[in-house]
Symmetry: C2
Subunit: 353 residues, 2 copies
């Protein structure tokens, strides 16, 4: 997909359906419980109604799209894992041993795994091979991606999401695997928000606290070198992004264009979400933020953008696990919405206020 | 059960199994994910191991025990609901139309409903009839319960829990239905913690904010009248408690005596939990706090007692819904614990720190 095509499609993103949302709220208030007493879960069902344009929303057909890619910046010693772990974990995803494999099976969620640009190859017919390149450039010395690469990576996610939606999926979830991608995500947060990298950079997947300062220094140098426009998501992706981060951003854009809700996982996909919201602010209405990451600074970002994730279980696993983990909560909420009795049906006296 | 018998049993509560918990932690750390990256859910599985004395904990057989009762204090206008709603909602529980009915079915949790002392009767063979009396006394004018009534109500819960555990249940959940019971719960919190009632009294199930001050005044007068010893759970229950609150406290005591985990719901069962912890501080180790109630002041109580509920979804429905809602999260965590591959099995390189 060309840059022009993608930007034209993003321009078509519409508002979600407010009258439908009011009807869903009315249904909630007719049920035998105190008003709004299912809290955030009522709100999610209201928004799903607005996104799907239906007072009978559903998330019965869902897929978690996991994009794997590598990051040149790991040469700077920002990760405790060797780069081969990206490929080893992708094989683990496919073989059913990873958390995302177990959770997607438990939660009746299809799992699709994409090679968006790994350094080490996984030859397996179950992986969808869409590599942009063999890892990104090292952001501390060069741009992570050219403009062409960035649109290629955005298109991987966009096209994958469109295929899923056209096949009848009503909820998409985002996941990733990429050694070094918390560095890219922290750099994106700092670039978009202007927050000091020291306040938005943490231990990622097990970096010793003593080495976090080095990770901060790398991010500072990369941002000083490229100085991307904080309002330009493409410039930020080129400078400090990653193939999997761009691909997830593409999924979110496609969800908004095609009126399909997209669940955001935690720290990494949250960075993709901020960029998607820079492409078009209405994208936010189509996103369901699942998990409040414990990674340094994420809470501040959430406050800044009025994002209120559903839960905070102190998870920091990535892969899309936070998003898949909370699926049963949404299933439970929808069951209440469809199966609870109204005050009239149950003969329960409404409150007297 | 006599007072002496119950206190003797409480004295037998033992510590949970620390060596088993270490073994469960070691298993978690061997799995292909960053250490402790499933956060609070890893901690729950560790504690279930310690409670059950097994490195293979299970919550496959679970029952939510719902106790319904009425409160004399509703004569003071502290609730927006009429007292008949307690019985109407109990019928709705049984007929499958209430949130707790829907959720317990979705989450494969048995639901048992007890009449612990309602004013209006529900004649139905599916309700377990254990009424202590026809509602409690009005705490603003007299003690809510005599000492005999309090032990009778504690025994309802204790005996119900023992029956479930003896039949092979490995997780119990607490729920309640009782118009006026947020007033009783707020009074218990104030009595135990010494917090000003104004800081721990909210709108309950839909009281208009303008009437909360009156509810606070009622609680203040009741506590001034009875002045219960803040360290004596029986005195507090007699003064400002309720049959369902005492019954849930009894479930928690039985869980600790018989080494079975008990899930605490939100604001109401949280008050029962504080009292159970006054009976014996070790009870806390057997409790899983499920939902951070949005009710005024609950967060302060949680901080005070180092209680960290799993989620905060802004739910305020009672019935046990918060506890049942999060069951799938624990199921998911156990699935990860049992089904994920170890680093050795998957051939994934461990992090290099």
């Amino acid at each position: 997909m060309t840059e022009q095509e993608l930007l034209r499609l993003v321009g078509t993103i519409g508002e979600i359906d407010a009258p439908i949302m009011n009807q869903v709220r009315e249904r909630w208030d007719s049920l035998t419980k105190p008003p709004h007493s299912l809290g955030k879960l009522e709100d999610v069902v209201v928004r799903l109604g607005g996104i799907q344009g239906s007072i009978e929303p559903s998330v019965s057909k869902r897929t978690v799209l996991c994009f794997a890619a590598d990051h040149g910046v790991v040469a700077e010693g920002v990760s405790p894992s060797q780069q081969v772990v990206t490929a080893e974990m992708v094989r683990n995803f496919l073989d059913g041993g990873a958390a995302i494999s177990v959770l997607s099976e438990c939660c009746s969620c299809d799992l699709k795994v994409f090679n968006a640009g790994m350094v080490h190859q996984v030859e397996d017919s179950r992986i969808i091979q869409n590599p942009v390149s063999s890892g990104t450039g090292n952001m501390m010395r060069e741009k992570a991606m050219t403009r062409d690469m960035t649109f290629q990576a955005l298109s991987i996610g966009y096209n994958a999401a469109v295929r899923e939606i056209d096949e009848g999926r009503n909820l998409l979830l985002c996941g990733e695997m990429g050694v070094g991608n918390t560095t890219s995500a922290s750099a994106i947060y700092a670039a978009v928000t202007g927050i000091d990298p020291a306040r938005i950079t943490g231990t990622g997947a097990g970096l010793p606290p003593a080495r976090v300062q080095h990770k901060v220094d790398v991010i500072r140098k990369a941002l000083a070198l490229h100085n991307p426009d904080p309002a330009d998501p493409v410039a930020i992706l080129c400078a400090v992004g990653g193939f999997e981060l761009a691909a997830m951003c593409g999924v979110m854009l496609a969800g908004a264009v095609k009126s399909c809700a997209v669940m955001v996982d935690g720290f990494i996909s949250g960075a993709s979400a901020l960029l998607a919201m820079l492409f078009h602010p209405r994208v936010k209405e189509y996103l369901i933020f699942s998990h409040q990451s414990g990674e340094e600074g994420y809470q501040e970002v959430c406050r800044h953008f009025a994002i209120d994730p559903l839960v905070n279980l102190n998870m920091c696993l990535g892969e899309g696990t936070g998003a898949v983990m909370v699926l049963p909560l949404i299933d439970n909420a929808l069951s209440c919405y469809y199966k609870m009795a109204t005050f009239a049906e149950a003969g329960v006296t409404e409150i007297d206020v």
